[in-house]
Amino acid sequence: MIVQIEEKDNVVLIQVKEERLDAHNSGELKNQMLNLFEEGKNNLVVNLVDVRFVDSSGLGSLVSGFKNASARNGSLKLCGLQPQVKSMFELTRLHRVFEIFPDSEEALASFE
């Protein structure tokens, strides 16, 4: 899994550079996030702008990050959802769980 990690103030921006986030690579995303939590970084933005396809285990890895961030008084927010990816959040009602922003600027600004 290719991810690009950037820190802005106290927020970590994770851009998933894969066309698919699925049972083949979602475990790696989950681990990347666990590493960040261990380093005390609890405010995350996951940018999915390059992701064209997400399955239930991709959603599961984001739910895992969301729960861990919340448990540490941080938060995990999403941005850059393509229409088909967005429809997956709606189908599973997860759009009610996550804060979802159009792009990373707006997601980062929401932490200020």
């Binding site: 066309e19 699925d22 599961g60 739910v63």
Partner: protein, 140 residues
């Protein structure tokens, strides 16, 4: 002109072929002359249900054993798209899964729900040496 087509795929019990098989499913969906709805949406859904069903077979039925094999059959019959995913496992009761709304912060448990939401008929049946999940989509 009715569509007719049969594609059979065998791959090792490994998640690295999920993308390829999903793409083959998308290609097939995009070719269907008969389908009246949004063809790009259908392509995404076929990719997705293949991915969900195969991941389940790899993990839950074939215990992530990379030496086992996954068998997928995709065909069109009577204006319906049939997708079959064969596993070599002990099986499960597909009618007795909890509804995912009740546990919406679980990491797991959305795969079969997604398959059921997107396909018209879903059955899971015992075979001589394993099980088959059949997912059917009407094309008219």
């Amino acid at each position: 002109m009715t569509d007719k087509l049969e594609v059979d795929i065998k791959v090792p019990n490994q998640t690295r072929y999920l993308g390829l098989i999903g793409k083959i499913g998308e290609d097939i969906a995009r070719t269907l002359k008969r389908f009246k709805g949004d063809r790009e949406e259908l392509a995404y859904h076929i990719n997705l249900v293949l991915t969900e069903a195969i991941s389940n077979a790899i993990r839950h039925a074939n215990d992530d054993d990379p030496d086992k094999e996954i068998h997928i059959s995709i065909y069109i019959k009577d204006q319906k798209l049939h997708i079959r995913v064969y596993d070599q496992g002990e099986g499960f009761d597909i009618t007795r899964l909890p509804s995912p709304e009740l546990k919406y912060l679980d990491e797991h448990g959305r795969g079969v729900y997604i398959i059921r939401s997107l396909m018209d008929e879903v059955t899971y049946k015992r075979l001589k040496d394993g099980h088959v999940l059949e997912m059917i989509k009407s094309l008219h």
